[in-house]
Amino acid sequence: MSATVPPRGLPKEPSAAHTINEFEHGYEEEQRLRGFRSACGFVTATWGLRCARCGQYDLTEFILSGKGVVSAYTVQNVPSDEFVNDAPYAYVLVDLDEGGRISGWMPSVRAVGDLSIGDRVHWVPSYKPGVQFEKDAPAPGDGGR
């Protein structure tokens, strides 16, 4: 693991372009899910100035597909105040097709049997808080999953 270190005395302008506000504005207003890709290949939506995995300065901003598979999830019956009218719902960790993992929630999942690890999901813009996912429609002939 070797970080690219800027010359002493010359602060390097971090390449991360968007702010946390812009990330939130992106999915709330612009229908864009912003993310970063590091020189080591690590993909994340989480804001930072250097890569959390390898320490590289070179973070490239790009638009995440919002598509992937569920890697873990829980159906929450006791929410925090922002989601008080939506429980039960699923809090999900989604492995994105382009690499990286992102947190989100699924209001349509109200019981454990409504979702499985490995299910394909996609991001859906919503007026509600947070990054919201929905299950992909079943492909023809796959029996509904």
Binding site: I20, F23, E24, T44, A45, T46, W47, A52, R53, S71, A72, Y73, T74, V75, Q76, N77, V78, P79, S80, D81, E82, F83, V84, D86, Y89, A90, Y91, L93, G100, R101, I102, S103, G104, W105, V112, I117, P129, G130, V131
Partner: protein
């Protein structure tokens, strides 16, 4: 070059619902710990305080309030915040100062009072310890975050519901013997299995309670206090580690890298192996957290801690007693008091003060305390002189 540091006094109140304010409770346990150490309050050189959610009581900066109540207003203090590992971080600071020769005696106090909040508000406060815009704002609560760890652990290792339940049953039994504990009654496996699901697969009895509480520890330089009245805890290791804050950005979900790193550093500092630990207090904010902690620190292979717990290996009279106090799960989890209270339990065990929950052997003990979902972790190792 460091010098030997001891925990010479340690005290806690009864966890649960406090009538008094946090500053009152903190001051009382602090004085009790100082007196137990055989010190006059004027011997304290610095107070390290933890009170992560003090603003919920409309009070910040409580160090000077505690010192004023103790009659030592001129003693400096500062607040140490590291979510649920706040007071173990404060202990680490105290250790660094005492072992490094900057202080001869330091006071560590942790306190939290949140019982005046309802479940919704308390859940919302705790969610602030995670990466708020990237986790909590996407629907995660603390039970939810640990539930995803449990989900991943179950899927990867086949961890069974009854194995999680065996953690709860064990820790409630231990707490029933601890006068400091929030919960004073044992539970059965049926009680556990019939409790409602909070965040699947975690049930109510997988989760620690919202507790008020206060705990304090006095750390001294051994060379300055050669004739202690109590059996001191020799601080053999004081290690802290961090990891990527947002859980979804970590390479794996079935362990906490900060616990792994902190324990590795601690074992190296103390020059002991996991097999030499007689008993331990570990961070069991949820039942899955205890299993993951035991695996992260190398006490059991990955996926084996649940089976070991169900077989009784971690019971109070088992081969490796874990959380004889009842742990966060049943003794309670007043966020900023938890780390210090783990040391109180070890102090009482070393001094034969643990009554019915006294473990068979207490020569070397470990305390493991996690901040949030493992973005911070502390591991301390103690031994007799």
């Amino acid at each position: 070059m460091t010098r030997q540091a001891w925990v010479l006094g340690a005290a806690s109140n009864r966890f649960g619902k406090m009538k008094e304010t946090g500053r009152e409770a903190a001051s009382r346990v602090a004085l009790e710990a100082i007196q137990m150490a055989g010190l006059d309050p004027n011997e304290i050189g610095y107070t390290f305080v933890s009170n992560a959610f003090g603003v919920a009581e409309r009070q910040a900066h409580i160090g000077p309030l505690i010192n004023t109540a103790l009659g030592i207003p001129e003693v400096p203090s500062h607040t140490v915040e590291s979510a649920c590992s706040s007071s173990s971080a404060a202990l680490h600071d105290a250790y660094v100062h005492v072992a490094g020769g900057f202080l001869d005696a330091a006071l560590v106090v942790g306190v939290e009072k949140l019982s005046h909040l309802d479940t919704l508000n308390a859940t919302s406060y705790f969610a602030m310890g995670a990466d708020y815009p990237f986790e909590s704002h996407n629907g995660a609560t603390f039970p939810g975050l640990y539930a995803t760890i449990a989900d991943a652990h179950v899927k990867r290792y086949g961890t069974e519901t009854e194995q999680l339940g065996s953690v709860a049953v064990k820790n409630h039994l231990n707490a029933s013997l601890n006068p400091h504990a929030h919960f004073q009654k044992p539970i059965t496996m049926d009680t556990y299995l019939n409790s409602p699901v909070i965040a699947s697969p975690l049930r109510l009895y997988d989760c620690c309670p919202f507790s008020d509480g206060a705990a304090a520890v006095v750390v001294v330089a051994a060379e300055k206090y050669p004739n202690p009245g109590m059996e001191p805890l020799v601080i053999r290791a004081s290690a802290r580690a961090g990891s990527i804050a947002a859980m979804h950005d970590r390479p794996e979900l079935t362990g906490l890298p900060a616990s792994q790193r902190a324990s590795q550093v601690a074992f190296k500092q103390a020059k002991v192996e996991p097999s030499q630990i007689d008993f331990m207090e570990v961070h069991d904010c949820f039942t899955i957290a205890e299993l993951v902690a035991l695996e992260d620190m190398g006490f059991f292979p990955r996926g084996e801690a649940g089976k070991a717990t169900a077989e009784g290996l971690t019971a109070r009279d088992g081969k490796l007693p874990v959380n004889p106090s009842g742990g966060l799960k049943a003794k309670g989890h007043p966020i900023s008091a938890t780390g210090a209270s783990q040391v109180v339990e070890i102090f009482e065990q070393f001094n034969g003060m643990a009554g019915g929950r006294q473990v068979p052997k207490s020569n070397v003990a470990l305390a493991h305390n996690v901040g949030a979902t493992g973005s911070s972790a502390s591991v301390h190792i103690f031994s007799r002189r």
